[in-house]
Amino acid sequence: MDSLPPHMRPERSFQGLILTLQRYWADYGCVILQPYDMEVGAGTFHPATTLRALGPKRWNAAYVQPSRRPKDGRYGENPNRLQHYYQFQVILKPSPPDIQDLYLKSLAAIGVDAALHDIRFVEDDWESPTLGAWGLGWECWCDGMEVSQFTYFQQVAGVECAPVAGELTYGLERLAMYVQGVDRVYDLNFNGREGAEKVTYGDVFLQAEQEYSRHNFEHSDTAMLFEQFKMAEGACRKYLEAGWDSDKKERHLMALPAYDQCIKASHVFNLLDARGVISVTERQSYILRVRELAKACGEAWVHTEAGGV
């Protein structure tokens, strides 16, 4: 790492941080994937986590996933909250016995010295009602700041994980703010250059935060979104039904396209929720509908080749 030019160093640039984590996990043997090309609420939704966590096959992967949480938009005015941000996701199946050490070494790689900082594993059990998933683990604290989520998946899409996968999720902006010593996310140095060449996180994303906040809270076309939700739900069911190779339902041939529609429905629901057009009681039923899709996709996936058939 010492051979890195200054602008590539993880404590100097946002992209340097990402590259360092990618290199670290690539070196461990992970498949380094690119982000999934759909809108998702978290890195967990990427089929490389949700679906690959199921079934008996080994699977080690890492990737950056842009995550959208329409409700968290603050028109670019809050120093920490964003409706679009990046997660760095690592999934290791089965969870290796030294997974905590691997994680701590990854922190060391990005410049967090465990002899200098107070690193802690604080109970935080993870549950995703829309994915029908849960696991036990921790928030990882560095000097009182939560920098990662660490979860041993027990169940995903309603299916027991066998074997269990370990999931690490780094909040990249927070981590970058920490190692760069910056208090406002938009002040992050993105490209590691200084002076006229410097590009900040704000240069890249501030306008987007403002525009999407307007969209998410005020202007998104709710009639269209309600329609889209129904269509995605319908399509998901249709693909799931059509994907079985025979009436015996021994093999499924379209789990991935069906799951895309589940992701779609989930994001559309988040947009509707941000607009405040879903009442408290309806909210539960929407979450349940997405969960039913996720469960059916999980069931289909375990009947595919990658799912272990």
């Binding site: 920490n80 089965p94 016995p97 200098l116 036990l136 000097d143 208090d183």
Partner: protein, 714 residues
């Protein structure tokens, strides 16, 4: 005798589970030892974030030998019975059995089973894996390769190693040989995750604890707590501050570190414009740090105390700086929430309550608030009975205003973030928007008292709203038949009832409850529920008997006699709790006197005789006795005293002077005693007998002016 050392070393155990886990481990192991005949001398269990440990000392090296005699079938019994006997006792043939002579019933076989005790270490090796596999974690998980197969070990977080050694102090102990899910018990552990990660070997508890300490692990959580508390106090004191002690936080923090290092940080003084409780909630809940006071002002200072898990190479500078940044961001959020909240008046938030369901059968929050407002207006004049005219109107208006605004802070950002400051924030927002001081205070206090140790509000407005809130809750859940049962009380109705009792009794307020219950039930029918509710004529009585029970519990906790509560409630119509309590007190004192005891005995005697004779004659003996039938002087004297005492006691009761009523009762005693001494109730002349029974009935009736003596235990 040998000792056992056990350590279960895992990834980080949630702080909130550690204490119970240590206790469970001790109990499970020692219970099993005792069940196996291994009676030990002592045991102690420990928990840190990464380990559960147990030492049991003074375990016998072997189980005691057991001798058992088992009776078998008769000599000559059918073969099936014989085979069953052999199988059950483990004998090879009947030759190994003894024959017991029995001339009456016939000879039968007896098996003498001698079981030699096994070495304790073998028994322990069988016990421990079972305990690990069945350990009662509130939540447990699977992990790693082995989780692919069914029946994989479950633990709170991945379990990495086990120490189990057994042996005498003077010798090298043996490793208890067992394995669980591929983890073999041994005698190796590790120290602090960062400061002493190397493996090391231990022999027994003494060197285990000492070596851990050298490896930067304080095993005993109480010791960690002591260190944190002492260091935090000292650090605060050295800088001229005073630690705000917080036991719950201390318990939690001590479960997050193996090697506590206490440090102090600061935040911008500007944040002190946020209410102190919010600062504390932010710093405590999110950052698990302590706050400190400035002893000169008694208010929060812009400092906080954090507990790190490491002696950092720079003395903690980076750790403090990092925590300061997080706290700054958190306080910025809190300040933003607070400032945002201040922009909206409390009443402007109310329409939103129309969309929020309080309980599906009890309508919306808006409906509930409307009910509480009307009930508070109804109760307020009872709280200050002397208030008349304009003063009374003003009081009622304040109570209504406070009731209307009391719940509004539930919709604020700060309370959304920190539910524990509900009420308190409402008070601050009310003060800022210029509400009357009692109205603002009532908003905070209407939730009180929350339990037996919580403060009871004393301002009349607060009392009225607090009572209205609780009575609406009680009547509501009573109406839809969601009463507490056994240990289940999801809506905290027992606490609400106790709250009503304390509000009324400690403030010495006269509030007839049945009428309020009826009023609240009517309100519920008009606003809030379209669901069928419990018979509204029955509800006030049913709920009142719940109060009688709560009052009994309350008095019993205070060491008073709860049977006296029954004796008073049995009079009927007793729904003024203050009067009930006063009467119980006076009655208790009276019964401590000789007069009281004897009168009670006399009254009971009268009651018993009456009960028998009433049954015999199948009639009651009520009505005035006939003076012309008195044969003995004591009869006339008793009749005279009854009449005198009755009127005196009734007047005293009407004046609510129960002590005086009791002393009036005392005068009855000599007359009753003399009557029973001299007179035979069941006289041969039926008319005289009837007249005397009527007199007895009069005694009973007279005492009912103060209590139903038949409910009092001797």
């Amino acid at each position: 005798m040998p000792d056992l050392l056990l350590e279960l070393f895992s990834e980080e155990i949630p702080a909130r589970m550690q204490a119970k886990a240590a206790d469970d481990l001790r109990k499970m192991v020692t219970d099993k030892l005792v069940a196996e005949g291994l009676v030990y001398e002592g045991a102690k269990a420990f928990a840190t974030p990464r380990r559960l440990a147990l030492t049991v000392h003074g375990i016998p090296a072997r189980q005691p030998d057991l001798k058992d005699e088992r009776k078998g079938p008769k000599v000559g019994a059918p073969d099936a019975a014989v085979q069953g006997f052999l199988k059950a006792t483990g004998l090879k043939s009947l030759d190994e059995a003894k024959i017991q002579k029995d001339p009456k019933k016939g000879d039968f076989y007896i098996a003498l089973i001698e079981k030699t005790g096994r070495p304790a270490i073998d028994v322990i090796a069988e016990i421990l894996p079972v305990i690990v596999r069945t350990f009662p974690w509130p939540k447990s998980m699977r992990w790693g390769e082995r989780s692919a197969k069914p029946g994989a070990l479950q633990w709170v977080r991945p379990l990495h190693s086990i120490i189990a050694t057994f042996g005498m102090e003077t010798e090298d102990p043996d490793v208890v040989a067992f394995d669980v899910a591929g983890i073999e018990a041994g005698q190796v552990t590790r120290g602090h995750r960062f400061m002493a990660p190397a493996e090391f070997s231990v022999r027994r508890f003494e060197d285990y604890e000492a070596k851990l300490f050298d490896a930067k692990v304080v095993l005993d959580s109480q010791r960690r707590k002591d260190i944190i508390l002492a260091d935090a106090k000292e650090l605060a004191f050295a800088q001229g501050y005073e630690l705000v002690e917080d036991q719950v936080l201390l318990d939690e923090v001590s479960g997050l570190v193996e090697w506590p290092v206490v440090l102090m940080g600061s935040f911008d003084e500007d944040f002190l414009s946020i209410p102190g409780e919010v600062i504390r909630a932010t710093i405590r809940n999110n950052q698990k740090c302590f706050v400190v006071n400035d002893p000169k002002t008694g208010k929060l200072a812009n400092r906080f105390i954090l507990v790190a898990n490491i002696e950092a190479s720079d003395g903690g500078k980076a750790i403090v700086a990092g925590n300061e940044r997080v706290i700054r961001a958190r306080l910025s959020d809190a300040k933003f929430f607070y400032d945002t909240d201040l922009k909206t008046k409390l009443e402007d938030r109310l329409p939103k309550f129309e969309q929020i369901v309080f309980h599906e059968k009890l309508g919306t929050q808006a409906e509930r608030i409307a009910r509480i407002e009307r009930l508070a207006a109804e109760i307020a004049p009872l709280v200050v009975p002397t208030a008349q005219g304009a003063e009374k109107e003003k009081l009622v208006e304040k109570a209504k205003r406070a009731a209307r605004l009391a719940k509004a802070d539930l919709l604020t950002e700060v309370v959304g973030e920190f539910p524990e400051v509900q009420g308190l924030m409402g008070k601050y927002y009310a003060q800022t928007q210029g509400e009357d001081a009692s109205v603002a205070q009532a908003i905070e206090d209407h939730y009180k008292p929350q339990g037996p140790n919580d403060r009871v509000p004393s301002d009349p407005v607060a009392i009225a709203v607090a009572l209205a809130d609780k009575i609406d809750t009680l009547v509501g859940f009573w109406a839809i038949d969601e009463k507490p049962t056994g240990s289940k009380d999801p809506y905290a109705l027992r606490r609400a009832a106790l709250g009503v009792i304390r509000l009324v009794v400690e403030n010495e307020k006269r509030v007839g409850l049945q009428q309020r219950f009826a009023f609240a039930a009517e309100e519920l029918l008009s606003v809030g529920t379209s669901h069928p509710i419990m018979d509204r004529n029955k509800l006030p009585f049913d709920l009142l008997s719940f109060f009688a029970d709560r009052l009994k519990v309350q008095l019993r906790d205070q060491g008073a006699r709860h049977d006296l509560v029954d004796a008073v409630f049995a009079l009927g119509g007793q729904d003024d709790l203050l009067m009930v309590v006063r009467r119980v007190e006076a009655l208790g004192k009276f019964l401590d006197t000789d007069d009281g005891k004897n009168l009670l005995a006399g009254t009971k005697r009268a009651s018993n005789i009456l009960a028998i004779e009433e049954k015999k004659d199948k009639r009651a003996f009520d009505g005035a006795p006939d003076a012309s039938l008195y044969k003995d002087d004591t009869e006339a004297a008793l009749a005279f005293m009854i009449a005198a005492v009755k009127s005196e006691a009734s007047i005293a009761v009407a004046n609510e002077d129960f002590t005086f009523a009791m002393s009036a009762m005392a005068k009855l005693r000599p007359a009753v005693d003399a009557f029973f001494d001299k007179v035979k109730v069941n006289d041969d002349d039926p008319k005289v007998r009837e007249n005397r029974l009527k007199l007895l009935n009069e005694i009973r009736a007279a005492t009912r002016a103060v209590a139903d003596f038949s409910k009092i235990q001797d």
